[in-house]
């Protein structure tokens, strides 16, 4: 396994959000974290990239323990994190954003390396080349997401973690981002994809983990998870079994369905109602 998290407990201000999480990612794998808003997906990704120090547990990358390393060291080892909400440097140009992505690559031939990779990325995403000297603050959400991913790729990572890349994007754009993810795997990268859009994420992933209230409640091959009857209920976020009875969650799911659209078909794309 390329990345292994063992018994990660992490949170903010002393109160844990994640409790004893175990996950792993293999070489060239797309692994998705599925779960409702607030389940702890981003917390886990932040713990892996080093934005957050876990309270206990170990993280290993290529067999080396990394949970005490600085974020910079983890970037150097080949872990890139494309954060939730894109977080591009809004006041800077595309070129500046990209070159900051390669900040840790400080060798003597650094400028060659940088411009080389930048050219490569521009070939893949032509809009980056067209707007290379534009300030990115006014880009559309989809363009910013593409730029954020490209910026992550500038550090030449072996594992790229995408946190909610479909957030706030149009369905068409979501599809484009997901296509990009599969392309990344073809190039040999491992991908950790954290998504609320469970169906879409599982459709392209190799394996998946369902995270709920800070724990992994289901895991396995993505295709198996897709067929799991529990996914639909859990993904709606009303199935927090600890709080509500089976009947109550059914009733709430039904009223939610009524709210969203015609009761005949599945209201949320990709989620089958049981």
């Amino acid at each position: 396994m390329m990345l292994e998290c063992r018994g990660i407990t992490a949170g903010y201000n002393g109160s844990p959000v994640l409790e004893k999480i175990d996950i792993s990612i293999g070489e060239g794998e797309i692994v998705t974290l599925v779960g409702a808003n607030g389940a702890g997906k981003s917390t886990l990704v932040n713990a892996i990239s080093g934005l957050l120090r876990p309270m206990s547990g170990e993280i290993h990358f290529d067999g080396k323990r990394i949970d005490q390393l600085s974020p910079a060291d983890r970037v150097r080892m080949g872990i890139a994190h494309v954060p939730e909400g894109r977080q591009v440097f809004a006041g800077m140009t595309v070129a500046e954003n990209l070159s900051l992505g390669a900040y840790t690559q400080s060798s003597r031939s650094v400028s060659d390396l940088r411009s080389g990779r930048m050219r490569e990325l521009c070939d893949q995403y032509p809009f980056l080349r067209e707007r290379i000297n534009d300030v990115v603050g006014n880009f559309s959400g989809g363009q910013q997401q593409m730029l954020a991913i490209a910026r992550g790729l500038m550090s030449n990572p072996r594992l790229i973690m995408l946190d909610e890349p479909s957030l706030g994007l149009s369905p068409l754009m979501v599809q484009e981002v997901l296509n990009l993810v599969t392309q990344l795997r073809e190039r040999g990268l491992s991908v950790l994809l954290s998504e609320q859009n469970a169906r879409a994420a599982l459709a392209i992933a190799d394996r998946g983990y369902v995270i709920e209230n800070g724990r992994v409640t289901l895991s396995g091959k993505a295709s198996d998870l897709l067929d799991s009857p529990e996914i639909a209920e859990r993904y709606l976020g009303v199935g927090a079994a600890t709080r509500f009875s089976q009947e109550e969650s059914k009733r709430m799911a039904a009223s939610l369905r009524d709210c969203i659209g015609p009761a005949t078909d599945s209201p949320v794309p990709g989620v089958r109602m049981s």
Binding site: V75, Q87, L100, Y103, T104, G137
Partner: protein, 633 residues
Amino acid sequence: MTEFIQITVGGVLVGAIYALIALGFSLVYRVTNVINLTQGAFCILGALSTYMLEVEFGWGLPAAAGASIVAITLIGMLVGAGAFVPGLSRLSNANMLMMTAGMLTLLEGLMLVVWGSQPYAPPPFMGMEPVHVFGVLVPTQGFWIIGTTCAIITVLWYLLARTTFGKALRACAENPAAATLMGINVSRMQVFSIALAAMIGAIAGVVTAPTTSIQFDTGRLFTISGFIAVAIGGISSFPGAIAGGLLLGIVTQLATAYVSSLFSGAIALGLLLVVLIWRPNGLIRAGTQRRQDVRDEPRVWKHVTRLQPRVRTVMAMIGLALAIALPLFVPEGGIMSSLVIAGILFIALMGLDVVMGYAGQVNLGQAGFMAIGGYTAGYLATQYDVAPVWGTLAGMALSLVAALALSLITLRLRGLYLALATLAFGLLMDSCAVGLADITGGPSGLVGIPSFAIGPFDFGSPVAMYYLVLGLLVALMLLLGGLIRSSFGRALQAIRTDQMAAAALGINVVRCKLIALSISAILASLAGSLYAFFFHFLSPDMVGTSRSLELVAMLVIGGEGTLVGALFGAVLLTLLPTVFQPLAQWKTFASGGLLVLSFLYMPEGIFGSFARWVAARFNKPAKISTSPVVSHV
């Protein structure tokens, strides 16, 4: 015409100093989003240490200057790593500004201890004889100033715009979390930006010192001028900082020459206020526009511990009993007078707390209203024998008018620019107090003010004054306490938390802010009048900008948003110098240090910590609602 050019050249030289300080502000601001008011102190530190090494220790100029610049850079690094960067993760932007004011005081105190309070005049680098250039006299030091300014601008521009390192610095300001993910060590970059700014400040100080006389607190003037320059020019662009500095220098020099030296400050501030109204973001916009929909969110949410009514009443009774009994135990004299002063200042502080602690609007010009109240009452009493009560009321009315005028400017401003506009108001009052010598007595002050009296009762003695102030405080406390617990008080707190959300809830933000500022101004005016009657004398520095900053320090040390908290700060900062009279020269150092420490380790203030302790002991645990979170769909 030659004369005009001559003055303009002088203005450019002065402006270059302002521009260099403004550059330091801009640099730190662009990396941390915070204005670092210590900038001026770095200049003076550089100048004084070079003077010491060169003149007193007999080192050569290059060695002395080099050693000082390195030393100041290290001090900057220390200040950055020890206070500034730790503060960034704990304090809101407004409190960061105040903490840097504390650091400025700390450094000034340090210089006072090392170099004393006398002025120094370092020798020029290359002789006293000015050079003729096309009929205009230019002091030799002028070439050094211009040359250094150009060199620093070029190097800084190259560093930030052309190097990866510079991009990383800017990335830290844009988005610290994303910068971390790129592998940038954000806190190291922030420390580095402070150190770099300190170095620029030190170089500026060394080069410009020979053109002016300097003493331990000249840095304050440099800081304020640089702050004004950067606001005129535009904070997030280097050309803006430079243009603002030069413009400010030229305007003040021309005003000094053609109008009056007493009014040059007022004219500069007028310029600033015009710019703030006309172009709130400065004359020169940054090349890269920041998105306006991204709000300046506080990094930290403050929690104020509230005591339960039962506990509160008991505490208030105990406190009141102590206050009434106190004169029996305290000898008439220094300490008694200090207590009266603390009480008077507390009146102004309650007003400040309504504006800053509750409504969350920074106000660095509170002493300006004290000046209005003090001078109005004093002038009417000395010139027209108006009874003190009527004079005080007239001052309050005038302050109200001034507050309404000020609010025309400040209502549109937030954060940094609000701080700046209120600071400018205070400075404007300063320069009026100095400039309108016929009314105020000018720099030497207004003398012969009678004691406060109501009808036949004369409050001449400190004890009588003490009980008068105590009575006023109790009445005001009841009044304001009730007001704060009304819907108006809750509206103010909503504005502090989130102005946009408050407006969306139907709170009339403009009206609430206006009322808060008016209350604050009236109370400050009352305090100013009492202050003048108590001292029988009023001079501009008693109610100047230093006083405004001191008031904010008292409020924060005592505890914001608690109404009573400021009393602790006022008593502490007023009594300390009286009690430790022999250590008077350490006073500045101590109060600066106290301010920085309480920002870092006691952000809720003395009273806040006390209240938490009391609450943990005596508050009954609140009932926790057990109803389900989702009751219906």
